[in-house]
């Protein structure tokens, strides 16, 4: 891969301590983001997408630990002091969240959020400049200047998300992580937000990591896609290519589960996402995988590259010599019954 990547993640691991043991929410993820590109991260609920997104900002919840490295322009975020990391958040690394209704301080006017942000990162800025820059960014998001001094509760959900995006963009960060930015919004607003995010990467060279469970959004707005399963990235590649010819059975099943007008009968992947405290051995997907082989239950899959820029971690594509004799025989397992699924 080229080294023009603005953000490069190597073997990122994030785990939460619980009474039962560590929850490995992100387990050995490698990613790279180049300026101006949009990378979609998809996967089921609880597969570690949101934790990954926060990890990229070095923003870990209470009780979480991280390993591996997240290099922003070559500097490992985990080696930075708390202060240096904090100073990157905002001007270089931005984040927008899932539920815009609760993301603004309810006691503060919109203007106060901008004032705090700009004063924090640009100590010498004048009040006039703050106003000018904030209003310009808000206008780009379609928020009229007359609403600048309103309180958060005076806006709709879609407007609040646009305000959050404006707060994320006012400092022109190099990387923006958007964690399911449209999940709680209706479809029209969703389309609007997605268009705004698409414009942004064209006009400002911002690298966008778009976390979503909506494959339609990925198809429409993303250049590349990373499919996550149980804390692992199982497949990455050009969004169109991956969708046209998914290499990993999980990606294929996920795409088949998408609802469209031509859908007749819902397809779903039997079973539930695995327990991340005690995940299945070897390939995490093998208990639910329709193509599982003997080797899948015994050894971790090797990441291979069937096409340039396309990477997949699955024994179906794995080096034949490593599969071993008889390793490709279908995996015999007990049927997942209804009680197990529940």
């Amino acid at each position: 891969m080229t080294d023009e990547a603005v953000l490069r993640v190597r073997d990122l691991r994030v785990w939460y301590g619980t009474e039962r043991g560590p929850v490995r929410a992100v387990d050995g993820v490698d990613l790279a983001l180049v300026p101006g590109e949009t990378l979609g991260v998809v996967g089921e609920s609880g597969c570690g997408k949101s934790t990954l997104g926060r990890g990229l900002l070095g923003l870990l919840p209470e009780g979480a630990k991280a390993g591996g490295e997240v290099r922003f322009r070559g500097t490992d975020l985990f080696e930075l002091s708390g202060r240096a990391l904090r100073e990157l958040r905002g001007p270089e690394l931005g984040m927008i969240f899932q539920d815009p209704l609760t993301r603004l301080n309810p006691l503060w006017r919109v203007s106060e959020h901008f004032e705090e942000l700009l004063r924090t990162h640009c100590p010498d800025i004048s009040a006039e400049q703050i106003r000018h820059r904030s209003l310009a960014t808000l206008r780009r998001m379609g928020i009229p200047p007359t609403r600048y001094r309103n309180y958060p509760h005076e806006f709709s959900g879609g407007m609040r998300q646009r305000i959050m995006i404006a707060l994320g963009l006012v400092l022109n960060p190099a990387v923006l992580v958007a964690d399911e930015p449209t999940t709680s919004l209706d479809v029209l607003v969703e389309a609007q937000i997605i268009r705004l995010l698409a414009d942004l990467r064209r006009n400002f060279d911002t690298a966008l990591l778009l976390i979503t469970h909506n494959l339609g959004i990925v198809a429409e707005a993303c250049d590349r896609v990373a499919v996550m399963y149980a804390g692992h990235v199982v497949e990455t590649g050009d969004a169109r290519e991956v969708f046209a010819a998914p290499a990993h059975p999980y990606t294929r099943e996920l795409l088949r589960s998408t609802i469209s007008l031509s859908t007749t009968g819902l397809h779903y992947i039997p079973g539930a996402p695995p327990d991340l405290v005690d995940p299945p051995p070897a390939c995490r997907f093998h208990p639910r995988c329709p193509d599982a082989m003997q080797v899948c239950a015994t050894r971790d899959p090797v990441t291979v590259s069937p096409r340039p820029g396309h990477r997949v971690a699955c024994w179906l594509h794995g080096p034949a010599e490593q599969v071993g004799a008889g390793g490709d025989a279908p995996l015999v397992r007990e049927e997942i019954d209804v009680a197990d699924e529940a």
Binding site: R89, G94, R103, R149
Partner: protein, 342 residues
């Protein structure tokens, strides 16, 4: 801005309109409560001490031989005109009792509230910020014990330790006799009178007497404030807008101070209003313990003498105070929290 002011004005007017039914309901309750006791106030207070004819005469003079509904309407009318009647046992106007003794209770309750806030809020903030630490456990324990301990018990312990053993503070009274003689009564609030007279010695003397009763009564409320602030802060610190502020690179101390603290303190104002009732009932016991010449001591005396006119008058005032305080609190709340106005 004008829009905000408009909604605020409307809110205050609506809230004021609510006071009328509230006061009406309270007055009805007070009246019924006093009349539930068997017999009428005159027989209750003087029965057995006067010959039956004289008793009947007093009863007729006070109007207690008329139907209850007439008495009720008369009571309402009198209260609205500010006439609370004359005490039966010592024939004072109840309003005089209020003026002469109300100041002492006001001083005590105000000082206790200051003690409760000054101790409760910082302890609660500390506890919430350092959750489950050694200090937090200690603070919580202190909160429970101080709340659960009966007021007279706390008062006696404080008297024993600080007045008798250490001899730091006086055991009882509102001021030394010299101060009481030297300070002219203007407002009937001794502390205020001393301040108005510019008499530094008198002010110090009054404050010196005030310390132990104020701490006693304040401790009753500290636990409530402390736990409320602690829980709210813990919630705010995990709040979505707090995480969003961190993601924007706002320094942690400002995240805590501006976003978490302020939002955690909003409910304190509400609870402060609710605590007024607790303060007034606690004041009765505190005053009895410290021989404090306030309404509480008077109430206890009149109760012992079964002087129901006096009791009814004092309770009426307590009830109205609670209503007025809750009105003020709601208005303050609307000023702090823009969402309340809607």
């Amino acid at each position: 801005m004008s829009r905000t002011a408009g909604t605020l004005r409307r809110y205050v007017l609506q809230r004021l309109a609510l006071v009328v039914p509230m006061v009406f309901i309270l007055l009805t309750f007070v009246f019924l409560l006093v009349r539930v006791a068997p017999g009428d106030p005159v027989s209750a207070a003087l029965g057995g001490r006067l010959p039956p004819e004289a008793l009947a005469q007093r009863r007729a003079a006070a109007g207690y031989d008329r139907p209850l509904i007439v008495q009720y309407l008369e009571y309402l009318g009198n209260v609205l005109r500010g006439d609370l009647g004359r005490t039966i046992s010592d024939n004072r106007a109840v309003s005089d009792v209020l003026v002469e003794n109300g100041g002492a209770t006001l001083t005590l309750a105000g000082a206790a509230l200051v003690v409760a806030l000054l101790a409760g809020i910082p302890l609660g903030l500390y506890s919430g910020r350092h959750r489950d630490s050694f200090g937090d456990v200690g603070v919580r324990l202190f909160g429970i014990v101080s709340y659960a301990a009966p007021v007279f018990f706390t008062g006696l312990i404080l008297q024993l330790v600080f007045a008798v053993w250490l001899d730091l503070f006086p055991t009882s009274g509102q001021a030394s006799p010299i101060t009481q003689v030297r300070v002219d009564e203007i407002t009937h609030i001794l502390l205020l009178d001393a301040l108005l007279a510019g008499n530094v010695d008198a002010v110090l003397d009054v404050v010196h007497h005030l310390v132990l009763p104020a701490i006693t009564l304040g401790l009753l409320c500290v636990g409530v404030f402390l736990r409320l602030v602690r829980v709210n802060l813990i919630q705010s610190l995990q709040g979505d807008y707090v995480e969003a502020a961190r993601a924007r690179g706002i320094p942690e101390r400002y995240v805590v101070r501006r976003h978490a603290f302020r939002n955690a303190l909003v409910p304190v104002v509400t609870v402060m209003g609710l605590q007024t009732a607790l303060l007034l009932s606690g004041a009765i016991l505190t005053e009895a313990t410290f021989n404090w010449p306030g309404l509480g001591s008077e109430l206890v005396d009149y109760l012992n003498n079964r002087d129901y006119v006096a009791v009814q008058g004092i309770i009426t005032v307590f009830a109205v105070v609670v209503v007025v305080v809750s009105l003020l609190i709601d208005i303050v709340n609307a000023l702090i929290d823009p969402r309340v106005r809607y």
